[in-house]
Amino acid sequence: MNDKLLCLDDISHSFGGVEVIRRFSLDIEPGEFVAIVGPSGCGKTTILNILSGFVRPASGRVGCEGRARMVYQHDGLFPWLTVAENIALGLRHIGDPAERDRQAADLLELIRLRGFEGHYPHQLSGGMRQRVELARALAGDTDILLMDEPFSALDYLTRLRMRRELALMLEERPRTVVLVTHDIEEAAQLADRVIVLSDRPARIRCELRLDLARPRDLTHPEVVDGIHRLLFELGLEEDRSDVRGDVFVDA
């Protein structure tokens, strides 16, 4: 009907009398990378759960033209399955075993974990585990990747590395991505569009577009500027749009 891959139309939802989302609308284009940021407890994850179909909103319409998979914060891998078996979950729909093995090998290559196929998740580092989760979610021919703070349990340097890897993986296997995060840097470094939410009940406070190829350097001027604007929108930095040029020269 329309070219919107994902859309939320006038969604409202509450949990036990607490209104989490009020009259929320959002359209996402195919191939777009959208990040949703906002104060903790503002309903970010609920929006993701509504997009995935896990939560049915109290009112409003959800449209989803495609198959979505979720990447969780941590512990999304089945600990009783090896790396290869976890990834194979994402390839269940492929009937031909040879083809399945070939794709599994490709995915292991993509996440640079060749040689770890027989390892169990508890034998891997946090970063390696999240890479396996990504591989599982990117397996096969799904359209949408829903990510719920996928790197927040990792240390800072690993997080930087994972952002870069995610960007490279998406280059090879393009997906429409919705990333929920509280990490402003992550949003500015990865997303085409950052949606800043207000406090509960969640409303869109503003949107920020970043037209810049990925992977992006964290210190790229446009990324830095994006971070500043996001922090300003969240009331965490002063507006310095009038002195921006000077700041960059002097610093």
């Binding site: 979720m70 999304g76 729909h93 169990y120 508890h122 034998q123």
Partner: protein, 257 residues
């Protein structure tokens, strides 16, 4: 990964303790510190074991006891785990039945001995019944707890990847509870082995428990002690066998983090 190399001292020490204890025992017996009729010497006990082996009685008793434990324990596993799965999954069933299960869990299985004899007479059945009563309730409770604590995220992932119904049970629920269930199996198998001895002392005509009771009645304290040693050793063997279950690669995660 957590396997630590045992130093030679750690290997030698337990052996040294056993030899030391035997020497102390032999010394006390040889010095006649206690009356001979109450304190057998190790040589007599050794002879008793040999005698029991030669007559074939030890083997018969062993088979009888192992059969009863295996039957009662397997019955408890086969009925207890499914009931635990149901109670763990359905809040209403849990609310209705958990207090009763808890009551029986805390009732000593030995309290059932009179009914075991009244209902089942003498032989295999009362012992199997008592072992079942000892193992069933702990297995149910542990399964309920394990099911209730499966992280929600596993079910969400299973749903994302199209696992439903029977596949959900076989590929998510059961593997997720396996480590905790194996732990309770080890505990209850030990309990079952304790209970079979008591059951056979009172409601048996053979079995290791009957053998030591019979030895006491015949004032054969050498056979009494040899029976005790066999019972202890078999208990250790049973636990070591079940411990092997924790070495299965797909359950290691439950013990290593």
């Amino acid at each position: 990964m957590t396997e630590t190399k045992r130093t030679s001292g750690e290997r030698v020490l337990p052996v040294a303790v056993v030899i030391g204890s035997l020497l102390l025992w032999w010394g006390l017996a040889a010095a006649h510190v206690f009356p001979e009729s109450l304190f057998p010497d190790p040589l007599a006990v050794g002879k008793g074991v040999v005698e029991e082996v030669i007559t074939g009685r030890l083997f018969n008793d062993l088979v009888a006891s192992l059969f009863r434990v295996t039957a009662g324990f397997l019955l408890a596993v086969v009925l207890g785990i499914p009931l635990g799965l149901v109670l763990g999954s359905y809040g209403r069933a849990r609310a209705a039945l958990l207090p009763a299960v808890n009551f029986f869990r805390n009732l000593s299985p030995l309290a059932w001995i009179p009914f075991a004899i009244l209902w089942f007479g003498i032989g295999d059945s009362p012992a199997v019944f008592l072992i079942f009563m000892a193992s069933f309730f702990p297995i149910v409770l542990a399964t309920v707890a394990a099911v209730a604590t499966i992280p929600m995220v596993y079910f969400r992932v299973a749903h994302d990847y199209g696992l439903t119904g029977g596949e959900m049970l076989m590929r998510v629920t059961l593997p997720a509870i396996a480590p905790q269930v194996i732990t309770v199996l080890r505990v209850t198998a030990g309990l079952a082995w304790v209970v079979v001895v008591a059951a056979e002392m009172i409601a048996g005509r053979d079995g290791l428990g009957f053998a030591i009771w019979d030895a006491r009645n015949g004032l054969r304290i050498d056979l009494l002690v040899s029976g005790m040693i066999v019972i202890g050793l078999i208990g250790v063997v049973i636990d070591r066998l079940l411990f092997r279950l924790t070495r299965i690669p797909s359950v290691r995660w439950g013990y290593e983090r």
